[in-house]
Amino acid sequence: MDFLDFPDRLWLWAAALSYAVAFGLAVSSIVRRRQHSRTTLFVLVAVGFVLQTTGLYQRGMVMGGCPIGNKFEVVQFLVWSAIVLFLIVGPAFRLTLLGFFTSGLASVLTLVSLAASSWDSAHRSSLFSENPWIEFHAAIGMLSYGAFGLLAITSAMYVLQDYSLKRKRFTGIFRLLPSIVALEQAKIRLLLLGLTLLSLSLGIGYFYFLQDQDAVNPMKFASIGLTWTAYVMVLTLRQARLLRSNLLAWTCIVLFGLVLLTLDPVSRSGQEPSATTGTLSE
């Protein structure tokens, strides 16, 4: 039996469950005041990543390109990007609870996208035309969104730690949070990483736009441009010391929420859907 013959959604369900189990185990440990095993959590997230990669790979093979053709795939790819970055930078940051929050966000987003069948109902087969650079542009763009996702997570951890220290509350999850300084450093690194990736993506997209202006959806252009501008402003204000640390964290959380709302236009090309194929698993 060839496991790769399994429907792609089955792999993605398995990945979502793996993230959920990792999150559930960590929650259970925290509730019982036990130290959760970071190794177990990391392995479960890594297993989820492999399963998700397999599912997205199957989609990509059918599509003949990067699977970000509808809202479902964009959410899945965004989570995949965040997990890639977590697996790469997570051990370097050495932030306790980063895996806990990442697995939580990953399980929520993947389960919601799997449950919302309408997100996966239409499929645009001609998203990337035949230009591999456009596919690269899209993939780098999604990776940048993954970095902004991790930035939102570390910002949430910062807000919680700041609240804990200001209000003098150290029970439950508060006792496990990383230091303020470590979180601040992680936030800035992720902000720079996300902006670098998004700038690269925009640069490639711009050359494509010059070649074929009709192929770029104005809504997509506007939403990505606004996202880039917003994060550049955040960085500028922060460097100019005009944005307080706590406000910076809240801004990054709210901005990522807005980014999630713009995912639909981001997944559209300038051309109308040439085919409505339904879910690939059907």
């Binding site: 005041r33 804990s164 200001k166 003098k168 990383p178 230091s179 303020i180 300084v181 640390s245």
Partner: protein
Amino acid sequence: MKVPEHLLLVGTSHRTATVAQRERLSLDVSRVAEFYSGLNALPQVDESFVLSTCNRLEVYATIQGANAVEAVTRFLCDFNQVDREEFEQIQQRHSDLDAVHHLFDVAAGIDSQIVGEAEILGQVKEAYILAIDQGTVGSTLNRLIQKSFQAAKWIRTHTALGEGQISTATVAVDLALKIFGRLDRTRVLVIGAGEIGEKTVRALRSRGAREVTVTSRTEATAEALAASVGADSEPIEVLDRTLGTFDIVVSSTSSPVPILTLARVEAALKRRGRHPLFLIDLAVPRDIEPGAGDLDNVYLYNIDDLSGIAAENLAQRNTEVARCRVILEERARRAWSAIHPPRISESGTRTELSVRPSS
């Protein structure tokens, strides 16, 4: 492995003896060899292990034959020149499984004066090494002591017994770590030369704080404290200029008015940029205006805050004690059963060692 007839624990601790009584019973390192030599010369003693700390003197011995308990007790009193009747009043004796359970409790910090403290495990290890050097621990005590280490480590890893600091100085260090992550790159300023401030600085130093500066309204006292904790001193007149360069400020003066006003802290923050500032106000009346704690990136704790956290942590530890005892009892039972299976006497009843204090 030779099966010991019985395991005996005889000694005293902070639970039964005053500090003066414990002082007379404490075993100086220079006399350890002599103590072991005399104890193991007793025909009733096979193996022995002595744990002597400021809070306890406990002798663990595998024994056999008649009058073994009496012989060990008498030796202990004679060696320390302690009146036997007085010792009977303050002693604690356990045998077999109870003695193993007690050893496990001690190693895990359950029986400590400050419940859950970790120092005792190091002390048990040091005592164990001394006993090995003297050649007085054999297969039975070796195994039991090793098992007690494992049990103590398990308790520390899997329960909340050792969580949270329970003195104001160490609570302050914990908070500093929550803010800065590591202290070796932080600069500490001490305002005032009070005892509590000194304790806090020593605690910060023990966790890596290297750059410490002391200032006080009286320059001589600042210099004296600086010398005793290995710090620099500076006149209080330069405070406005230097305040912004420090990450942690510990203030414990007897000033009737706040030393660090809101305006002073705000001015310091402008120099600091985005780096957090940890203010520890140990003075009554307070040295730091409470409004400073509302500023972004400023974390202000006064003596009540620190004491409150310490009390919460202690209460939390105490709630864990019952659960830890059950776990340690089970581990002790397994360890004892492995080396000393229950033996049935010819009459069909289990043999028990009587450890009631003899009159």
